[in-house]
C-alpha cells in the first residue's frame, strides 16, 4: 500500500471525522476505493470503533434504477434504522468509470432520491465526511496520467490542516465583520452584500462544520448581488460542458447571461425556480495544494487563488438563527480565477490582490 493511502485514512478518521472508540461508523467503499477502504478499516480498528462497510457502486445503482417501473418504497426501515444509529458515515468515492450511470434518466434518479429523504437526512445528521481515492477513471476525467493524478490528490488532501484552519480563521473574521465584498478580475466587477451573514471556516473537519476532505475554503451566503462576473474555469454541469459563463446581476437577480459553451445548461439552471436566479454561496478557495483544474468540484472549488459562486440554495450554517437564506432545488458552483490584476476587497479593504492574500 502507498504510504499516502494510509496517511489519507488517518487524516480522514482523526482530523476530519474525529472518530472515537465505540463510534458506529459506516464506511461507504467506492468501486475503485478498495485500498483506501482497507486503510480506513485499519484506522477504525486502532481506534476501537465499529465498522460496517457498504458498497458504493454506480454500476449496481444503474442496474437497480433502470430495471424497475420507477416506483420506489419510501425510506425502507432497515436502511433508515442503520443510519439513525450511525455516528459517522465515511464516503470513499473513487469510480472506475465516471460515466458509469450516465444512461439513468433524470426522472428515475429524482424518483429514487425523493423516496429516500428521511435516509438522506439521517445521514446528514451524522458526522459524515466525503473524500476521494485516486482512480484511473478520475485521472482520465482530469486529463492526467495516473501517477501524476495520485500526486495531485495527495498534495491536495495531505495538508497541514491545523495551519490552514488558522489561516482561514483570519478570512472568516473579516467576512463575519464585513458588509460588502468587491470582486474584480478580467471580465468581473461584482459587489456582494454579506452583512449579518456568517462565514464557515471549511477546514476538512466536522469540528469546523466541514464535510469534505480535501476542503480549504471559506464560504458565506450573500444577501444581495450587483454587477458582472465571468467564470473562466471550465466545468461539467449535469454531464455537459460549460465554459466562460458571464452573468449580470441587478438587485440580487441574474438579469442577463451568456457563455462560450453550454449557454443552454446555464439557462436550465437559472430557470429552475425562483431561487436559482440568485446566489446561494460566495466561496473563496484557499487550498494551495490544488494547483490545477481537474473537472471535479470537490477539488476545483477549493483551489487557492479562485473564487466560486453558486446559483441556488444557501447553506444554513451561513445564516444567523431565525434568518432564512436563498432557497432552491439547485446549487450549482461556478469558478473564476483570481490572478494578475485581480482584487478581492471587503468594505474597501484589500484582502487579496493579484491572487495573493495580503498575509501571504
Amino acid at each position: 500500500m502507498d504510504d499516502r493511502t494510509r496517511d489519507h485514512a488517518r487524516t480522514l478518521v482523526e482530523w476530519s471525522a474525529r472518530i472515537e472508540a465505540g463510534d458506529n461508523v459506516v464506511v461507504e467503499v467506492g468501486e475503485g476505493a478498495h485500498d483506501l477502504g482497507v486503510a480506513v478499516a485499519e484506522q477504525l480498528g486502532e481506534k476501537g470503533a465499529n465498522l460496517l462497510a457498504t458498497y458504493r457502486s454506480p454500476e449496481l445503482q444503474r442496474a437497480y434504477l433502470r430495471a424497475g417501473d420507477g416506483a420506489f418504497d419510501a425510506d425502507p426501515d432497515y436502511e433508515l434504522a442503520l443510519y439513525e444509529r450511525a455516528d459517522s458515515v465515511l464516503v470513499l468515492k473513487g469510480s472506475n468509470n465516471t460515466a458509469g450511470s450516465a444512461d439513468v434518466s433524470g426522472d428515475r434518479r429524482q424518483a429514487h432520491s425523493k423516496a429516500r429523504q428521511a435516509i438522506r437526512e439521517a445521514r446528514l445528521d451524522t458526522d459524515w465526511v466525503s473524500t476521494q481515492h485516486p482512480t484511473r477513471a478520475m485521472a482520465q476525467q482530469a486529463g492526467m496520467a495516473y501517477e501524476a493524478y495520485r500526486d495531485f490528490v495527495y498534495d491536495a488532501t495531505l495538508r497541514d490542516w491545523e495551519a490552514l484552519a488558522e489561516e482561514q480563521a483570519r478570512l472568516k473574521d473579516i467576512l463575519d465583520d464585513g458588509e460588502t465584498v468587491r470582486i474584480r478580475n478580467e471580465g468581473t466587477d461584482l459587489t456582494l452584500d454579506i452583512s449579518g451573514r456568517r462565514a464557515v471556516n471549511s477546514a476538512a473537519s466536522v469540528a469546523y462544520d466541514s464535510h469534505n476532505l480535501p476542503s480549504g475554503e471559506v464560504f458565506t451566503a450573500p444577501a444581495d448581488t450587483a454587477g458582472v462576473v465571468t467564470f473562466d474555469v471550465p466545468m461539467t454541469i449535469q454531464g455537459r460542458r460549460v465554459r466562460d459563463v458571464k452573468l449580470t446581476f441587478k438587485d440580487g437577480v441574474v438579469v442577463d447571461f451568456e457563455a462560450e459553451q453550454g449557454a443552454d445548461v446555464i439557462q436550465e439552471v437559472v430557470e429552475t425556480d425562483g431561487g436559482s436566479r440568485r446566489l446561494g454561496e460566495l466561496g473563496i478557495g484557499m487550498n494551495r495544494g490544488v494547483d490545477r483544474v481537474t473537472d471535479n468540484i470537490l477539488f476545483d472549488e477549493k483551489m487557492g487563488g479562485t473564487v466560486h459562486l453558486a446559483l441556488g440554495r444557501a447553506y444554513d450554517a451561513c445564516l444567523p438563527e431565525g434568518e432564512t437564506g436563498n432557497d432552491s432545488a439547485v446549487h450549482e458552483d461556478l469558478i473564476t480565477t483570481m490572478d494578475e490584476g485581480s482584487l478581492l476587497a471587503v468594505d474597501g479593504e484589500t484582502v487579496q490582490e493579484d491572487g495573493t492574500f495580503v498575509w501571504e
Copy 2:
C-alpha cells in the same frame, strides 16, 4: 456481462431467496463478485425489492481485526437494527485471494465472532442464501483455468432445480421412513442409525430449508454409528490439507483414526469437545453438475456420487420437535466417493449401487 451471470442472479433471487416486492434485501458483495452484484441489483429492481449493498472483503476484515487490541463491542446496535429489519441476506462470495486474511489469529477471529452473536442470529433469521461468483482466485484454488472454472460453477449452479427437488424428495422419503443406513465402498463399511430423524431436501431454496446455491444433497442427522469409513476426497480443513482419513466408530464414537496426510488436524477436530467425536450429519450428494473436486466445500459436498459425514454439530432441521441432536463447537465435513463397487442401502434395500441411484 456473461448471460450466465444474469441467469445466476435470477436463480438466486427467484428460486433460492424467493424475493418479492417490498422485501428489504441486504446484498453482501464480495471483493471479486462485482458483476454478480450488478446482475442481482437488476433482478431486485425488477422485483420492486429494496436494495442495500454491503462490501464483503477479507482484506478490510483483516486490517480491522489485526489493528485493534482484540476487544470488540458486543453487537453494535446500528448493524443489529439493519439485520433485524432485513427480510433476506444474499451473500455473494468471490474472493480475489482465498488466503486474504490468513494471518489473522484464531483468537482475534473468535473474539470478534463472539461479540457478534446477536447479529449472526438476526442474519440467520432472514431468508439468507449464500452463493459464489467464479473468480480467478477460486479457479486457482480449484487448480483450474479461469474459463474452465466458470463453466464448472455455472454447470453446478444453473440446474433444473425443480426437477432435482423432485428427485431428492424420493431419497428424503426413504430416509425419513428408514431406520438403518449402510454405506460400503473401498475402505468403508459403516452402519448408521437414523430412526426418528428427519431428512432435509436441500434444493438450493429457502422454500426447502436450504441456504446454499448451488445445493443438491439430502442430509440427515445419524443417532448412532458403527464401523469404518475412509474419506478419499482431499480437503482443506482450517487451512491445512487432509487426505485419506480413516475413522473407526463404536457405539457412535470415534475410537480410532488415521490419515495419509493431516492426522494432526483430525486429532484436533476429534478432541475439540464431547460432541466432536460423534457424527452430526450424513449427507448424500446429488448434484450431477458438480463433476470434480475443487477444494471448496460449497461445491464438493454436493457432488453426485459422493457421501459426506460431518463430525460435530447436527442441524436442528433434522431433529423432530423436542429431540436434541449432537452438539459441538465444530462441524467438519469429510467426503467419500461412491463409485464402482460401492453400495448405499436403507433397511437392507439398495438405494445406490456403483454410484448410481436405483431410479437413475
